[in-house]
Amino acid sequence: MNILDAIKERRLFCDGGTGTYLQARGLKPGEPPDLWNLSRPQDIIGMHKAYLFAGSDIIASNTFSANPLRFENYEEIIAAAIKNARTAIKEAGKKEGEAFVVLDMGPSGRMLEPLGDFPFEEAVETFAKIVKAAVPYSPDAILIETMNDSLETKAAVLAAKENSSLPVFVTNVYDENGTLMTGASPEAMVAMLEGLDVDALGMNCSLGPKQMIPLVERIMKITSTPVIVNPNAGLPRTEDGNTVYDVGEDEFASCMKEMALLGVNIMGGCCGTTPEYIKKEREAVSDVPYSLPTKKDITMVSSFTHAVFFGERTILIGERINPTGKKRFKQALLDHDINYILEEGLSQQKAGADILDVNVGLPEIDEPSMMKEVVSELQAVSDLPLQIDTGDEKALESALRIYNGKPMINSVNGRKDIQDKVFPLAKKYGGLIVGLTIGEAGVPETVEERVEIARKIYERAAEYGIEKKNIIIDPLAMAVSANDDSGLVTLEAVRRIHDELHGLTSLGVSNISFGLPERSTLNSAFLLMTMTAGLSAAIMNPFSADMMRAFLSFNVLSGKDKNCAAFLEKIGDYEIETHEKKTATDGKGLLAKEEPKDADPLSSLSGAIEKGLKERAADIAKDLIKDGTDPLLIVNEAVIPALNHVGEGFEKKKLFLPNLLMASEAAQAAFSVIKENMQGKDGGLDEGGKIVIATVKGDVHDIGKNIVKVILENYGFSVTDLGKDVPPERVVSAVKETGARLVGLSALMTTTVPAMEETIKKLHEETPGVKIMVGGAVMNEEYAAMIKADFYGRDAMASVRYAEEVLR
């Protein structure tokens, strides 16, 4: 009997703590227990046997940190560890199928990007080496444990699945707030891990059994996968300088009985637990009936923090990260302006999106690498789940791989060739797949045909082992201007898929109004109709006030907005602004109070910028433009003088950096109003010249660099920001691409100065004539000269002055 068959039949018991047991036998602080597999195998075998005698069915190999980053001879350690566990089972007299050895894999010991500097694929590679080392010794399963980062968990699961056919069990570490250290809720982990098709999931370490019970309850509610729980012996307390745990064997056992009643399938212990704990635990739960978790028909996707559930209310998918029909967005893709894309994501989140659609397809760009970069950067700043929207299977896979959760996948349709590409990826990485009702012959005109395609998509998905709950059908909104019935057909299709097939639906709602004026009026009406018909998710523009009013209103009126909370929170943003109201709120800035009403608007603008009041600055700029003031005059007479004034104040140490930055923000707010009104006119703003800036390789601090960037931009320079931890080659290629004549490099740590030096050397070699300025906490004039930089920028203003000298 293999371990998966055993789980179907009976509750299995893991072992308990290792550290306490081995320390009692002389393990020193900081000494890795893994080495004892080789140096003191008898102690390790003895420990395993003690647990087997106490009633453990599952012995974890003593390989928690036996990874290639820590030990050159990790293969030898792993081999010995598995053999020791097998020997223990034999010596304990256990028969085949009675006790099992699992390969124990703990965290890599490095923090993954973007929080740390460990690249995702290197993490996968590290875990893969462990798995490959273990497979020849035939462990019964792989236990990925004590994982406190969801992304690292995913890297380990992929490594396990790609390099073995062994069952995979995963336990994560939740803290007192009920989340992983990097933020994931139990629901988010269930969504991701079930998407990855693991064989058991749950939690270990950090908490005692009592603190785990509410978390286990949350998991049991939604999971269809066997659950594994290995708590600590309570919470740690310090006694005479040693860590002791506050839950004794009996209390532990009675908590574990509650876990068994909740339906936990595999249980053991973690830090502070001993064979005695396992023995008592086993006794305590012996009379609790056993069963596997029921199959749940719950659809969820997740981000690195939370899960979004489908079916309760209509989910709002923001559609704005998409170049189709958007000139500015296309330009951002061509210019590699990731920040523009990220801001588009963040503002949709602010507007109330539940999920963000991500489409970065343009013929001119390398879509797979752009998709990977955008997904990776987006999930560093936004905690919304993403919908990967691409027709390029390489782009799809590159995004699915690094996605920190369970995404939506947009899309498959009725065509077999597309299904054959997308379904295998969805099966491997997990995801909620959008199925468009397009057949081999295009979009059918009748409801019946669309419903039929939906049915077939479900069937084909099932052939790939993908459940219906992981398909969401898009019956397609087509322009009503082209066919009077298209609204009705779509509505009826939504209703039938909902009522008859009991399936989920999503729609790109705004397509309905294509070709007609007043689109948002039509869109909001159609949105209400589709929501009434049972639409599960609307792909729409969350900046459309009309649609947002309709969306919020529907949820309130259909009883789906508890205590009208979302409505009350958000509706203020979409209030129709009357003239009287605008005047009434105008006084909110500090400046308005102090200022005489008849002040010259140009000097009011200067004042607002100097005081860092950005809304006020934007408002005055708007008024000036409305009154017909020449945009260039506004820039030259108000914005630049204000910036100069603040800049000088800063240089004379009369003002602090934050003053300077707040003024910059206000100036930018005014600038963007002015820019909007200058498009198409000749004689635009003075282009001050191009500058490439970066924080050098190995350094992840980029606040200083960001400050310099903002100030430079304010002075009219066009800045290409390469971000942090940038390799020398990337700086060189950016200089070549942009033709910039000035480069700014930042380093905070002494340890990363060599990287700066290397970057400068490469720049001098490959782009002669380009000037290089450096800055950062460790820099000074001498140091800068030593590594052959052209200039040391003491602060942001000094960089501006130097840029003016070089480029103007």
């Binding site: 550290g19 320390q23 020193k28 602080p29 900081g30 703990g106 965290p107 010991g109 490095r110 923090m111 973007p114 929080l115 740390g116 500097d117 460990f118 004590t146 980062d149 803290d175 707030n177 250290m181 990097t182 933020g183 919470l235 740690p236 307390r237 310090t238 300088g241 040693n242 860590t243 920040n339 990220l342 801001e343 963040l346 560093a380 700043v381 500090l590 100097e610 005081k611 860092g612 009041l613 003002l655 602090f656 950096l657 934050p658 003053n659 930055l661 707040m662 910059s664 923000e665 190995g698 992840v700 601090h701 980029d702 606040i703 960001n706 400050i707 903002v710 740590m749 002494t750 340890t751």
Partner: protein, 215 residues
């Protein structure tokens, strides 16, 4: 010789006192000048940053107690680590034992700071609030360890201070089992991740009242 094991130090979020004043100081606003024309607006935004960081920070800490194994004029040896720094050796003069500890405000703080990258003022303020949180965590860890030792401790001293090379960070984190106990890892550039993490040594003076400060 007493060798003890690394232990987790429980820090309740509520017991960590992060002050607005510290946030402003870390943000470079040394004097908090009353006459500054933006101080109210700025303080409001600093307060917002502080509130957010207080909401999301996830304090973790661990420590180990050890003898000073060897010492010279400009070095000490602790748990097999040779720490070269004259000021450190002087600071620990009245001590036979030390605590090493590590604290972190957690990775969510890093994310919140990173989210602010489009608004440099907030980025500075969030970063400052994160630093203030780490500082407050050190204070709390120190308070707990001082009560554990039953006496006042010497001023805390971190890798990177007065001649002590940052290169010892890896050894510090290893003996503290800081990855497992507090989720603190080292990047290749010897920086700690999460960013708002601190490691330090606290000397335990042999006799009460003999604790030293650096300067």
């Amino acid at each position: 010789m007493i060798i003890m094991t690394a232990s987790t130090l429980l820090i309740e979020k509520e017991s960590v006192d992060i002050s607005l004043k510290d946030v402003l100081i870390f943000a470079g606003y040394r004097t908090c000048d009353k006459d500054s024309p933006v101080s109210e607006e700025y303080k409001r935004r600093a307060q917002d940053a502080l509130s957010k960081i207080k909401q999301v920070f996830t304090p973790k800490a661990c420590f180990i107690r050890s003898d000073i194994e060897k010492r010279g004029e400009d070095f000490v040896e602790i748990l097999g680590m040779r720490l070269e720094s004259k000021p450190l050796s002087e600071l620990l003069y009245p001590c036979k034992e030390v605590f090493l500890f590590a604290v972190t405000a957690g990775p969510i703080v890093d994310r919140e700071i990173s989210k602010m990258r489009f608004s440099p003022v907030d980025e500075i303020l969030y970063d400052a609030a994160g630093s203030a949180a780490a500082e407050a965590l050190c204070d709390e860890a120190e308070r707990q360890l001082s009560s554990l030792a039953g006496k006042k401790l010497c001023q805390r001293f971190s890798p990177g201070y007065s001649g002590l090379s940052i290169d010892c960070q890896a050894d510090f984190l290893r003996v503290l089992e800081a990855g497992k106990r507090a989720g603190i890892y080292l990047t290749k550039g010897n920086m700690m991740a999460p960013l708002k993490s601190v490691t330090a040594i606290l000397g335990i003076p042999e006799k009460e009242g003999e604790e030293r400060t650096l300067y």
